[in-house]
Symmetry: C2
Amino acid sequence: MLVPATMLSTLTDRRVRGSMPAPRNRPTLRDIAARAGVSETAASFALNGKPGVSEKTRRRVLDIVEELHWTPNHAAQVLSGARSMTIGLAVARNAQEVGSELFFLRLMTGMHTVLSRNRYGLLFQVVDSVGDELDLYRRWSDERRVDGVVLVDLRTDDPRPRVVNELGLPAILAGGPDPSGTVPAVSIDDAAAMRSVMEYLRDRGHTRVAYVSGSPTLLHVHRRVEAFLRSGRDYRLEAADVLQTDFSAPSAVRATQRLLATDSRPSAVIYDNEVLAVAGMGVIHAAGLRVPADVAIVACEDTPICAAVQPALTALHRDTSGFGADVAGHLLNLLDGNEDHGGQEKTPELVVRAST
Amino acid sequence: MLVPATMLSTLTDRRVRGSMPAPRNRPTLRDIAARAGVSETAASFALNGKPGVSEKTRRRVLDIVEELHWTPNHAAQVLSGARSMTIGLAVARNAQEVGSELFFLRLMTGMHTVLSRNRYGLLFQVVDSVGDELDLYRRWSDERRVDGVVLVDLRTDDPRPRVVNELGLPAILAGGPDPSGTVPAVSIDDAAAMRSVMEYLRDRGHTRVAYVSGSPTLLHVHRRVEAFLRSGRDYRLEAADVLQTDFSAPSAVRATQRLLATDSRPSAVIYDNEVLAVAGMGVIHAAGLRVPADVAIVACEDTPICAAVQPALTALHRDTSGFGADVAGHLLNLLDGNEDHGGQEKTPELVVRAST
């Protein structure tokens, strides 16, 4: 179906409670011009700050505009070749990957601090797969629904940078860099953050460390895994165990049980987020071990739960709202026709609490 | 400033990496008509399923449309009196109120299951206050930016139902009912859910129960507080203590400390969400008391943390995604010009775990 039925039905004008209310009468550019006693062209020039109208006329038009609470019709501006004033954010995820949900909400609220100031809206959509996400970008592009998109959760061999580029859809990658060099990115140095955790653990006298990670098909997890193994060598820590999870608590329970079952139990475990860390801590306690005396715990994502749980969790703290604001800023810069090579965020800092 | 500078700048056509890519050539209705050998009017009639064109012509036009991957221009459809195909969701909240964040993300993902199927997008915006939210609705309405809105977090004496009604902006309240009867609502029976918790606690032999709540200016919290007090009387439980928090862990710590400092310590505590419950459990353990042997704990919001923490938290489980889907469905029904009186969701169910 090309034109959905809901698009074709006409809006009714009933004032019954719970039915469609009647639309208000909105002043038009013609009304503005008439009241100011100038042509529509002159009114439009005055509004858009173009030369050709006197300062006096400009002032009169703007006063009337203010008086009538006039705002330019959004759709008319889009048609006239301007923008849709909308940024698209699609997330391909399944219900299991709940661990990063707070990340997405904070990313969005951060983006809004910049978007709202510039009168941009965010069109947010959840899709089942990367394939569906590509279809969505094609549709958004065809319908000129969005002016640009923010890519998240880049995977290894990800087709999305190439496709948005082919579509001519301006894009910024939130969390990069893009290995293909196609899309500018706002990056977080996940490797440096992981190194800071490992350095801290070495300084606390740990010798054998394990990492309970998310899926390394996600590039940021992949980078953390590599940094974990490399810094293990650099700091002469035994960093042999990387146990992969699907970000679910039962998966973290199984991984932790395996770690405790080995002869050479780690003295510290790094978990990719707070759900994994809390689940792991339960297994450690159930085994009759103490946190941090027997096993220290670090979470890679600081949330209110990290401070609330007992013992409170040492965690990597990132400014996700600030990250979102920067992502939006770079995308708007691109939309203004400027070159933009993305940026680099402050490395997440380790907040030390009772679990280490 | 009425017309933002970003709206006025013209898009450039450079193909430099990190700059605006060139837009694709999109086929127009004229291209379709020319290729089919019919007039634009006939092509349009064929597309929109109107009478006046032969079945053969209609078939030919649709085949060409499919071949060219043509989609109707979104903005043109809006201007022609159709829809913006966008639903607005504004949330007035401060950074402290993190407790319900997962709720909002789940609400949105649920809404998308229905919106995406109907080609609607969601415009999500975070604002500082209810006043800013009202300004946003006025702007959205002026600019015809959205076809309707979803109201959340209704407060006591909330001006929003009246204002969206005056604006002629179709709206559904997520979580109701609206005491003023202005806006149809999809409701969750928070009172019945709270009663089920109290009944369960009575059956487990508890006699004195406390409730660590969020702010009762939020209507759903207000309803829970009332149900807590009423069912306390009905079930002959001492339900004297309602301690109000701002959904933050430190606030829950203070509330729990106050509860434990009294002569008549409660045998069970109900917390409004999982962050409050986890923080409270820490205080109880720190006081040398055991959960659930000395104090049982219930959380009013089931999240992955509730199952991950030790002891795992008994919690009220709600289908927030299903709720979001229903909210979107009722709003689309309104937009189709139908009467809609909202609906009632399944009452959240108590998931019993080790904390009680």
